[in-house]
């Protein structure tokens, strides 16, 4: 198939489309979306990152790398630290938890579909709504969960304690991300050929050994996908939850790179600084994903 298509392309006319322009016409809406919502704003961010202006955009002038210096000397390093810890914690825990739940659910009999629906449920809740619900539960002194923690002797006040705020935000993200990962692990588990597992059972391999030697390696492609998605969710998707629950506080303990960018660019009107932070975030995300694909892909077998 692929060879034929290539041949068609070489012949010029193309078998599917009679005209050269037509395929591009079909691609135009997608290209327009990419241009308007990705290329243009990204380009603007790069331009703004080397300029300095007041909040209203007046008096704009070239400022070299001043914004980058300001970014790297301010709260950005703390945000980098917070983001790194947040990404690692949420990715590892979501991954382990969702894999464990998926394996358990796969082994249940009659109520499999019920369990599946229940475990996927939390992903259907939008971030802002989830934030509002958790805020209601954990509101210091008022929320039911906060009172329960109080009764257990925990001095719960995430509005003042940075550690508690970080735990709360991480827990919410894990709660949502586990559901998402669960969907893919469930699908992945169903794709594992039963005969291979049965053969191993006949050879005398125990459940744990079967899982680590057969099931987990065969889930490789799924795991790569899930890790990438979890990292992206931690880097970019956590915004709504943070904005609703902690606004990056207290003391910057839940200010991730994206939240710092929002605060500096939108709340504080420092577009140049936000531009520099955007460029830095681009670079960081790019490097991270490139490394993930190179390193992990080498160890994964796509069959």
């Amino acid at each position: 198939m692929a060879r034929n298509a290539a041949k068609d392309r070489r012949r010029g006319a193309g078998a599917v489309y009679p005209h050269r322009v037509l395929p591009f016409a079909f691609m135009l809406p997608e290209l327009a979306v990419v241009a308007v919502f990705f290329l243009w704003p990204s380009g603007q961010a790069v331009v703004e990152s080397v300029r300095e202006s007041n909040a209203f955009g007046l008096g704009s002038r070239f400022s070299g790398l001043a914004n980058f210096r300001a970014a790297l000397s301010g709260g950005y390093l703390q945000a980098l630290e917070v983001t790194a810890l947040f990404t690692i914690v949420t990715t590892v825990v979501s991954l382990a938890l969702s894999l464990f739940i998926a394996v358990q659910v796969e082994q249940t009999g009659r109520f499999k579909s019920v369990y599946r629906t229940l475990f996927i449920w939390s992903y259907a809740v939008p971030g802002a709504v989830a934030g509002a619900i958790w805020l209601f539960l954990f509101e210091p002194r008022i929320g039911p969960a906060a009172r329960l923690l109080g009764a257990l002797g925990v001095n719960w006040n995430f509005a003042l304690s940075g550690t508690q705020a970080f735990i709360l935000i991480s827990a919410m993200t894990i709660w949502q991300q586990t559901a998402y990962d669960f969907v893919f692990f469930s699908a992945g588990l169903q794709g594992i050929p039963l005969d291979v597992v049965e053969a191993a059972t006949v050879d005398g391999a125990g459940a744990v050994r079967r899982f680590w030697r057969i099931v987990f390696p065969l889930l490789g492609p799924t795991t790569v996908f899930v890790v990438v998605m979890d990292v992206l969710a931690a880097l970019f998707g956590s915004f709504a939850v943070i904005d609703v629950v902690s606004q990056g506080g207290p003391g910057g303990s839940t200010t991730t790179l994206v939240y710092a960018l929002y605060r500096d660019g939108f709340q504080n009107g420092d577009v140049g600084l936000a531009g520099a932070e955007t460029v830095l975030l681009f670079v960081i995300a790019g490097i991270l994903l490139a490394v993930q694909f190179r390193v992990i892909n080498r160890r994964v077998h796509y069959s």
Partner: protein
């Protein structure tokens, strides 16, 4: 009413882009913004921005963005309706845009996207941010002069005028909703503990807190949720006569201004609150948690909060409460000095079609009128900002029958402001407040001592002020 469709759609569309595209709207095309704004600075010459509006036959629409909701929204909408009913040339539509900070950031994003409202409400802390960005607004005193409407800085009560006026004593914006923090106290709880009058000094307040605790009232004080740095740092400074920043709190310079919060008065005040917090006698739960319920449901017996919340507290409290002046630092001979207004002023944005400006002037003149001011002050906890408004209220015996409303006025007028107590005029002050809120959270949770937290806040704050000076200075 008949806003032209083209006009609505343009604003809606840009609004949508502003909220969806992260940097798309904020980055905008700054060069062309500067050009179009510059052409209308100080004059009301025509722009081609919205020819559609000019050609429509109905009344000319004016948009006003505010942070008024709830009781305040109702009172403000009442004034807007009254203005709309009083004439047919203009139609004002007020839009609630969220918190003060949101109104400021929305205004900035909208201005950059060429979709600014005609009039916007900028809160006290945002004053320098817009005032120093000349070209983004039409100064109100000039607008009034162009439209032959009598307008003078001396029409306003001292505290409101001195807070908002420029170095040449002019008003670039219309001071509007102005309040000042006061001490609310739960009469029942204080009486139960045998305390006959609310504390007038912080030393006394601490003693009272211990008495209240021994009578089973664990928490004796809470402060404004979102604006604790306003009540316990900014207003604390002026009320007790301490400088908050160099160069007369930023009124006499932009470059080289530094904070003076890493000093003994602030350190001892915040460490006192920290000590009270460790015993549960003082509660504050971060900038995003309202503290109003803590007072109205009886958790805390006293409450440092803006006088503007008087009506909200009246609606929520099931017990008799009183209002008194903020406590002062015991032994400070200068205290009490004066508090300053907090709240917001109204700014006329540049770049709108020329036929809207006479309407802006008329609407602002209506809001400034004695009757509007009297209505506004008597239906909210705000103080009248004009002398005529205050006189009208007094002649209606308002303060004689509403002693709780009197306290804010007395604090503002307690003494003639000194150069360091007229107000606080710092660029990016909202950002400085975020830094201070972090420091306060650290102090109250016991993570850091007041001295260490304020030293950090001072250096972070100074970096923010330097950033502002570099962006606005040249």
């Amino acid at each position: 009413m008949h806003m032209s469709k083209a006009h609505i759609n343009r604003r809606k569309l840009t609004g949508a882009v502003a909220s969806i595209g992260f940097l798309a709207a904020a980055c905008g095309n700054s060069a062309s913004t500067a050009k179009s704004a510059g052409s209308t600075t100080g004059s009301t010459s025509a722009t081609t921005a919205s020819a559609a509006q000019a050609s429509s036959s109905g009344p000319i629409d004016l948009s006003v963005w505010t942070a008024f909701n709830g009781v305040l929204g109702t009172a403000f909408n009442h004034l807007v309706d009254e203005f709309n009913a009083s004439q047919s040339t203009y139609h004002v539509t007020a839009a609630y845009k969220g918190s003060y900070s949101q109104v400021l950031s929305d205004t900035i994003a909208a201005f950059r996207a060429h979709a600014a409202p005609d009039i916007t409400q900028i809160f006290d802390a945002g004053t320098a941010t817009i005032m120093d960005a000349s070209g983004t607004y039409v100064p109100v005193y000039k607008l009034m002069a162009q439209n032959n409407i009598p307008f003078s800085t001396s029409d306003f009560v001292g505290g409101a005028a001195s807070y908002y006026e420029t170095s040449s004593d002019q008003l670039d914006s219309l001071p509007f909703n102005s309040s000042t923090p006061v001490l609310f106290y739960n009469k029942t709880e204080l009486a139960n503990a045998g305390i006959t009058s609310p504390p007038s000094t912080w030393t006394q307040l601490q003693a009272d807190a211990n008495i209240l605790a021994s009578h089973g009232q664990k928490c004796s004080l809470t402060s404004s949720g979102a604006y604790v740095m306003w009540t316990d740092m900014e207003q604390f400074a002026v009320w007790n006569g301490y400088p908050y920043a160099s160069n007369d709190n930023g009124y006499t310079a932009t470059k080289g201004v530094t904070l003076q919060i890493d000093t003994a008065p602030f350190i001892s005040h915040l460490s006192m609150l920290g000590q009270m917090a460790s015993k549960g006698q003082y509660i504050w739960n971060g900038v995003s948690t309202s503290t109003v319920p803590l007072f109205t449901n009886g958790t805390c017996a006293m409450y440092e909060q803006s006088s503007a919340d008087l009506t909200t507290i009246q609606a929520g409290a099931k017990f008799p409460f009183g209002v008194s002046e903020l406590p002062v630092v015991a032994g400070d001979s200068a205290a009490p000095q004066n508090t300053v207004v907090g709240g917001a002023s109204l700014w006329v944005m540049s770049g709108a079609p020329s036929n809207t400006y006479p309407g802006d002037a008329k609407f602002l003149a209506f809001l400034k009128s004695a009757s509007s001011q009297a209505f506004w002050a008597s239906n909210t906890g705000y103080v009248p900002v004009t002398k005529a408004g205050a006189t009208l209220l007094s002649s209606q015996n308002f303060y004689a029958t509403h002693p709780n409303d009197q306290v804010a006025v007395s604090e503002l007028d307690n003494k003639t402001p000194t150069p360091t107590t007229r107000g606080i005029r710092l660029g990016y002050l909202p950002e400085v407040r975020q830094v201070e809120a972090s420091a306060i959270a650290d102090i109250l949770s016991g993570k850091q001592t007041a001295a260490a937290a304020l030293a950090t806040a001072q250096s972070k704050g100074d970096a923010i002020l330097a950033q502002f000076a570099s962006q606005y200075g040249g």
